[in-house]
């Protein structure tokens, strides 16, 4: 894979990561932040896949699987926390 392609992909993914982190800081409500966290996990999965292509090491895909799993569990946990009556607006 030419280095230019992976560099461009890394740049795009980092830019989107920064934008989502801005949304994570802004909020304004907890569900908004949870959505941002989920998208951050998806972008990190993309970063891991790009890194796996750049270094030609396929084992990084395992990390991507674990990342996706953790993101799903975190989303479910946050949603249950919200519905059972946790902090509403923080």
């Amino acid at each position: 894979m030419p280095e230019l392609i992976t560099t461009i992909a890394f740049a795009i993914l980092m830019a989107s990561l920064i934008m989502v982190v801005v949304r994570l800081m802004l909020g304004p409500t907890l569900p908004d932040r949870v959505v941002a966290l989920e998208l951050i996990a998806a972008i990190v999965v993309g970063l891991i896949a790009t890194y796996s292509i750049a270094t030609e090491v396929a084992s990084f895909l395992d990390v991507a699987i674990v990342m996706a799993l953790m993101a799903f569990l975190a989303a479910i946990g946050f949603a249950r926390f919200l519905e059972e009556g946790g902090a509403r607006n923080a």
Partner: protein, 217 residues
């Protein structure tokens, strides 16, 4: 121009860039869109498709059986869990009382829940009653042939609204809650959104308690 060694590399590069651009699109949507459901609309679809495409790029770039198997497992997992997570978060956000965008044209869920289970305590009771009244009017217009039946149903609905004693207490509870809302907003006018949300949340729990008492009775 970059030099590719094979067609597979070209396909992998194309999928990788497409996936990255889709995730960029999702990030722009999450940053720019006005409220929670629209942000989820951006992040869930574009985000999960972008991640799946980047992983497919890995599988195309290294076409070995273990890599393809793991990539396929990851893609299937992503596409299975993204809708579930989005549904759960959206449901939680709606019931917690996250404010919708002020340009929202129609909140169909509010009408549905007010129609079936009397009250949900979402903090917009007045609007709900107006909307349900409109719905009844439309129905009577449609069913002009059976005017007597519609009159009967209207009287029934009036009875069901005024009948139970417990609901009167519920209404007074709601009034108290609205008074509390006004007080809190008057006290701290700096952040009206958050204040109204907080009082909505307390009203939520109070009304849930009342409805559980009614159910026990």
């Amino acid at each position: 121009m970059p030099e590719f060694q094979s067609i597979g590399e070209m396909v992998a590069a194309g999928t990788l860039l497409l996936g990255s651009l889709l995730m960029f699109l999702a990030a722009v949507g999450v940053l720019r869109l006005p409220d929670l459901p629209t942000r989820m609309h951006a992040s869930t679809k574009a985000g999960s498709l972008g991640a799946a495409l980047t992983i497919i790029a890995v599988a195309v770039f290294m076409p070995e059986i273990p890599v393809i198997a793991r990539a396929a497992a990851t893609v299937v997992f992503l596409l299975l869990t993204a809708p579930v997570a989005a549904h759960v978060i959206g449901r939680a956000g709606y019931f917690v009382g996250v404010p919708l965008w002020e340009g929202t044209v129609k909140d169909a869920l509010a009408e549905q829940y007010d129609f079936k289970t009397q009250k949900l305590g979402s903090g917009r009771e007045g609007e709900d009653e107006e909307e349900s009244g409109e719905v009844e009017g439309e129905e009577s217009e449609v069913l002009e042939v059976s005017e007597s039946e519609s009159e009967v149903s209207e009287s029934e609905s009036e009875v069901s609204e005024s009948e139970p004693v417990a609901e009167d207490s519920e209404d007074s509870e709601a009034e108290e809650v609205s008074e509390v809302e006004e007080d809190s907003e008057a006290d701290e006018g700096s952040e009206p959104e958050r204040d109204s949300e907080g009082s909505e949340g307390s009203g939520d729990s109070k009304k849930k308690d009342v409805t559980s008492e009614v159910a026990e009775a």
